[in-house]
Symmetry: C2
Subunit: 319 residues, 2 copies
């Protein structure tokens, strides 16, 4: 039997560990969207999580897992996205140093948000190689602990905690739709949900224009994401070494959607649910509304959808 | 002792009556906004209510209070706002006819929303006189029951039910901020909240550019709203005959805010809370952040704010 990076027990203990620090986000329903999807839908509102995304769960779990000596030396990551904000705040709440390596091309708004949580920001060139090199130097210099955005057991276990809450609120769900980028959320949720209900199906949701997970899953061979071109900026990375085996073996399918479908789903959720979600969160909604999903998954299965984040600029219209 | 249109018992029985039909909306907190306000804040998310506003509570209560004979003849209202959608859906759920009289100048989107719930829409001239005349004719013709948007005991009692939920979720609140237009929500919430906690303070929140309630309250004499000029389109009406005595005698104060403050508060909630709220809901947030409120109400009072609705067009930016 394959051993995976995390167990359901890891997720359960993460849930207890992070409970004092996170929002227990609501699970909401919406008649219009359920009607459009042709089935009962439930939405786990991680856009309402602290720092605006589910990433705060994994970051908090990882930060809280450090022993006192490690904690004193701080944490380091390289990210320009939601994980950077999440780790910055998680470290601030524990009162430990945090350094975020960011490409110098990252948006000033995102840099400002991370600085706002009290993090040190170090600029690097916008290449994965330079990000990793710069982060490595920082770890060597500070003795801090590197907390990557998804390929890390404590992070994966932390993300999985949202499934425990969702299935407590909506125990009737027969399937879950989970956006997949690096697979931290998808792997954590899969382990947690299937331990609670061995019959539940878990599906990944991915932009067609960044479909490495779908292609990897179809061939059962890990493939890298190259040249992603999607508005769903949280879902552009390749699967990780720790997340891939869980996705490969335990997930029930991965569905892709177009950019047009993503934007339409985002607008629908803003307009009808009054929830600001980011494009990555809209990917799951778009899958639920797609013909492919409706054909593949019987309508009597109520579906839980993870609205994974709400960090979008409001300086422009998306439609 | 003055007798008011509703009692706390009316609100409690409304809560039981409408529970099967409404969303029990979440109460959320946000560290950034609490920090900005200099006190603990809790937000009652009626923007997440069915039809996108608290109006669905009052409309549902009024529709459910009809006996079978009355129900068969249907309901009638004149409104171009959230009450129209709320009553249309409440009637549809009970399966009875509903006619909405709307000024012919009302936005096509709002008309479409009401038609979408299956209502009959009758156009009228955009004057209060013609709205009332047309609605009166419809009542005479159909034998239906007129359900006005706020000055009606069953509507007021229905709106008050949100306070029962809010104080159950956040029993530590020392004050509430409630947007005030016609006063249906403010009067219902005041009666309900003060019955649960006789020490709680209840404040109205009003646009400076539609400040009839503030001026009426200050002089303890009812004054009409004339020529309102505010983005908060839900708060432009005068107080009603039934709502005014409760506002006058039981409310603890009314605060006003400028248009600039309203838009800034709306953006803050969209950006930091990831909740779409309409300008009328932002009025309460703006009051909590205002110097006048901070000076008048001690910071050790945790404050509940009603995010009363989320019906805004997404075809434009507001900033």
């Amino acid at each position: 039997m394959t051993t995976y990076a995390i167990t359901a027990e890891d997720v359960r203990s993460a849930a207890a560990r992070i409970a004092p620090f996170i929002h227990r986000t609501p699970t909401l329903t919406n008649e219009t969207l359920s009607k459009l999807a042709g089935r009962e839908l439930a939405f786990k509102c991680e856009n309402l999580q602290k720092t605006g995304s589910f990433k705060y769960r994994g970051a908090t779990n990882a930060v809280r897992m450090l022993d006192d000596a490690e904690a004193t030396r701080g944490v380091v990551t390289h990210s320009s996205g939601n994980h950077a904000q999440a780790l910055a705040k998680a470290a601030a709440v524990r009162g430990i140093p945090v350094t975020v390596v960011m490409p110098r091309t990252a948006s000033p708004i995102k840099k400002q948000a991370v600085l706002g949580y009290g993090a040190t920001v170090i600029d690097c060139e916008p290449t994965l190689a330079d990000r990793e090199r710069t982060a490595g130097e920082t770890v060597a210099k500070t003795g801090g602990t590197l907390i990557p955005p998804f390929d890390h057991a404590d992070v994966m276990a932390g993300q999985g905690t949202l499934a425990l809450e969702l299935l407590a609120d909506a125990p009737n769900l027969g399937a879950l739709i989970v956006p997949v980028g690096g697979g931290g959320m998808l792997s954590g949720v899969t382990i947690a949900a299937k331990a609670l209900n061995s019959n539940i199906k878990v599906y990944g949701a991915e932009p067609l224009n960044a479909d490495d997970a779908a292609r990897s899953f179809a061939g059962k061979v890990w493939l890298p994401q190259t040249a992603p071109n999607t508005i769903a900026d949280g879902l552009m990375t390749s699967l990780g070494q720790l997340t891939w085996p869980i996705v490969r073996d335990r997930v029930d399918g991965i569905f892709t959607v177009t950019e047009t479908e993503i934007v339409a789903a985002m607008r629908l959720v803003w307009e009808r649910m009054k929830l600001l979600i980011e494009p990555s969160a809209a990917v799951g909604v778009a899958v639920a509304l797609s013909d492919a999903f409706r054909t593949a998954v019987p309508a009597d299965r109520a579906v839980g959808i993870i609205l994974c984040g709400g960090n979008v600029t409001l300086d422009k219209l998306y439609w």
